[in-house]
Point group: C2
Chain length 194, copies 2
C-alpha cells in the first residue's frame, strides 16, 4: 500500500486506522469492534491506536466524523445548575447543528442509522455508552428517562434541520429554548416518578 522507499507517515497511519475502524464498526457494531481488531485490520500495533486515540470511543468519533466527543462535552453540560441542564443541552445541540460541517456529519450518521441495520447497531451502542450511561450515572435518572429526553432532542433537530418544517426551522434560538427546554428538563428532574 505505502509508496516504495518511504514508511507510512502518521497521517497515513491514522487514515489506515480510521478506515479499518469504519469497516469493523460497520461489520461488528460498536461493541464488537475492539481496538485490537481494528489495529490488526489496519496492520499496526494496538499500542499505536491507543497512542493516537486513547479510547475506542475516540476512534469511533474520528472514524464516523461525529462532530463532537460526548466525553468532552457532557461534563460541561451536566455540571452547573441542574435545573438548567435541558437548556444547556439544547443550546449545545443547536450550536452543533448550526455549523454546516457538523450538521453534515450528524446527518450522515443519522441517515445511515435510519436506513442500514449495521449502522443502526453502531449508533445505538455508541449512544448508549457515550450518552445514556454517562447521563444516568451522573444524574441518577433512569435510562428510560435519559432516552426520552434524547428522543425529543433528536426529533427536534430532525424537524428543524432535515425536514425544515416552518416555523420550527426559522424559530429564534431563545424562543425555541423557552418553549422546548421545560419539556426536556422534566426528564432530568428527579422527583417525578419512574
Amino acid at each position: 500500500m505505502a509508496r516504495p522507499g518511504r514508511r507510512p507517515g502518521p497521517t497515513e497511519t491514522r487514515e489506515a486506522i480510521l478506515s479499518a475502524a469504519r469497516e469493523l464498526f460497520g461489520a461488528r457494531g460498536y461493541d464488537g469492534a475492539t481496538i485490537r481488531a481494528i489495529a490488526g485490520q489496519a496492520g499496526v500495533d494496538p499500542a499505536l491506536v491507543h497512542h493516537f486515540y486513547g479510547s475506542k470511543e475516540n476512534v469511533f468519533v474520528a472514524a464516523m466524523r461525529v462532530p463532537f466527543n460526548p466525553a468532552d462535552v457532557l461534563p460541561d453540560v451536566l455540571d452547573g445548575p441542574r435545573e438548567e441542564i435541558a437548556e444547556r443541552l439544547l443550546r449545545f445541540f443547536l450550536g452543533v447543528w448550526n455549523d454546516p460541517d457538523s450538521r453534515a456529519a450528524f446527518l450522515g450518521l443519522i441517515r445511515s442509522g435510519m436506513t442500514n441495520e449495521a449502522a443502526a447497531a453502531m449508533v445505538r451502542q455508541f449512544l448508549r455508552q457515550a450518552l445514556v450511561a454517562r447521563a444516568t450515572g451522573v444524574l441518577g435518572i433512569s435510562p428510560l428517562r435519559a432516552e426520552a429526553a434524547m428522543s425529543h432532542l433528536i426529533g427536534m433537530m430532525m424537524m428543524r434541520y432535515v425536514l425544515r418544517l416552518e416555523p420550527l426551522a426559522s424559530a429564534d434560538e431563545d424562543e425555541l429554548v423557552s418553549i422546548v427546554a421545560p419539556s426536556i428538563q422534566r426528564y432530568f428532574d428527579g422527583d417525578q416518578g419512574p
Copy 2:
C-alpha cells in the same frame, strides 16, 4: 397500456392515478401537485379522481401509503378531555407503529424524507396541512408548540422502532406513556407562555 379489447377497470384506473400522484408529488411537492395535474398525468378526468378519493390529501395518503389519514384520526384524538390529548396521541402512534404493515409504510415515508429533498418537501407540506394546521386550529396553540410536540412524538418513534435503543425499545406501553405524555402534554396546555 391497457390490454387490447378491454377497457381499464377501476383497479387499473386507481393504480394509474396513484402512480401519477407519486410522480407528481415527488416532482412538484405536495402543494404543487394539483388533482387536475394528477388526473392529466394519469389520462383520466379530474372528476374521476374526486370520485375515487374525494381530496388531494386522500390521494396523498393512498399514493404514499400513509398508514392512516389524519383527517379521520385527529378528531378522535383532539376530542375528549384536553388534559389527556398527549396520552391519546401517544397511544395512537404506538398502536400504528406496533403494526408491522403500518410501521413499514411510516418508515418508508420517514426514510425518504430524511434522504431526499423532494420527498422532504412533500412530507413537510403534508405534515403542515394535515397535522399542524388542524391541531393549531382546534387547540388554539401556536404552530411552534404543535411542531415541538410532533418532534417529540416522531423522535420517540424513531428511537424506539428504528434505532431500537434499549430500554426504550422494549418499554411497556403504559410505563412509556406515564413517563413521556406529560412532556408532550405541556405543549397543548394553553397557559404556559408562547
